[in-house]
Symmetry: C2
Subunit: 238 residues, 2 copies
């Protein structure tokens, strides 16, 4: 009896606040081909998205990480899905649903070429060109559409270079997200590609200005908050 009690205690201890939950994360950039050799991309190291995956795993979640092209090692225990374009990322995300929490940290390219050339475009000497771009699917807004498949908590990320909080509030409303994690990625901040970040958390209740910290610390803090939020929803329903 003592042995089984200890075993139960140990197994309780291994359970985290997100045990039994599925956390879906997008990370990295997308690459939108213009022709077989050229593409448009957003700058993104994927460090923040991958930090979120590690943090969710540490809290006991089952984690799906849908990632564009990045140079980061796989995370043991995380279900990694590699994609290249925004359309492929959307398809992978929809395949991965249902999820309890969705964290859209990828820097998805807003546009793709209206028509990708099957052969390499040849340049003509001295000629400038005009590229026609079509808008990509909006992954965050698609996930956040109300319905039975919508995760309980949909969290978007906003990388801005000015009016950071204003843009984040507008983005939260426009996309139907629950929370927006916003940061200033102006070159002077060193956040883009770096290991540290300084974010503002925009929720329905207002704006929290978080201090500067590592991307790992931010991820741990955000996932802990997300886990609390889920359990309060569940407690209220009980």
């Amino acid at each position: 009896a003592i042995v089984s009690a200890i075993a139960r205690l140990l197994s309780e201890k291994q359970k985290g606040p997100l045990t039994g939950r599925h956390v879906l994360i997008t990370s990295g950039p997308t690459h939108e081909p213009l022709d077989p050799v050229r593409y448009i991309a957003n700058r993104s190291s994927g460090k923040q998205g991958h930090a979120l995956a590690r943090a969710a795993l540490a809290l006991g979640a089952r984690v799906t990480l849908v990632s564009g092209p990045v140079n980061l090692p796989n995370i043991r225990g995380v279900n990694a899905v590699k994609v290249e374009t925004a359309q492929e990322m959307l398809d992978a995300v929809l395949d991965a649903l249902p999820a309890d929490i969705a964290l859209c940290a990828a820097a998805v390219a807003d546009w793709r070429a209206s028509a990708e050339a099957a052969q390499k475009l040849k340049k003509e000497r001295g000629a400038d060109v005009s590229l026609s771009l079509a808008q990509n699917p909006d992954i965050l807004a698609t996930i956040a559409i109300p319905g039975p498949q919508r995760p309980e908590l949909v969290i978007g990320f906003a990388a801005e270079t000015r009016n950071v909080v204003d843009h984040a509030r507008a983005k939260r409303r426009a996309k139907g997200a629950d929370w927006i994690v916003a940061n200033d990625v102006s070159a002077a901040t060193g956040i883009m590609g770096g290991d540290r970040t300084q974010v503002h958390l925009v929720t329905g209740a207002g704006v929290e200005d978080w201090p500067a910290m590592s991307k790992d610390e931010m991820a741990a803090r955000l996932l802990a908050r997300a886990a609390e939020s889920l359990s309060s929803v569940r407690s209220a329903a009980e």
Copy 2:
């Protein structure tokens, strides 16, 4: 006397066919910013350019490697210059002259945004956009301009998806390069980003079809040919 003879022999042995020569190599892609977070790029792992640098070093050359954004380790003994845009690459190349051999293996973006936005472009829902692109400086053609700074041997690279040899011949004439190393980078070949290649060497004397081999083997073979070519020029002048 015996000791000094041995010392001379050893030092002779360490001399390679490119000892005393300066080899200038461009490698990798360039990234052309559209705004603080978006850019246009060419696909390029930089593996071929970096293999050329190792091969030139092994033959005794002093090597300058001007490289766009790649995820490859530095090469000990090579003077590495890191750049991002085509304009920066051109500036670094001109700074590195004079050189005996120039190998332009970088996949330089042909176009850049006509005007880079200082702030992140905001997308308007449902609106498609048209991007105005200006032609980038042509690094290979600039190096190959006749004059006292022109390297003795200027070698360009042509990554094509069809009519590989025809395009390479035309490129050789249009750019004023001595040799063009051409290959087929269609997805089916696996050359793009891979460790193997299969090239055609286009010179003034004609076209040689080289068999498939590793990028390292191709680099060693090409640099050995380049070294021979330099010494024959020098011998003819003597």
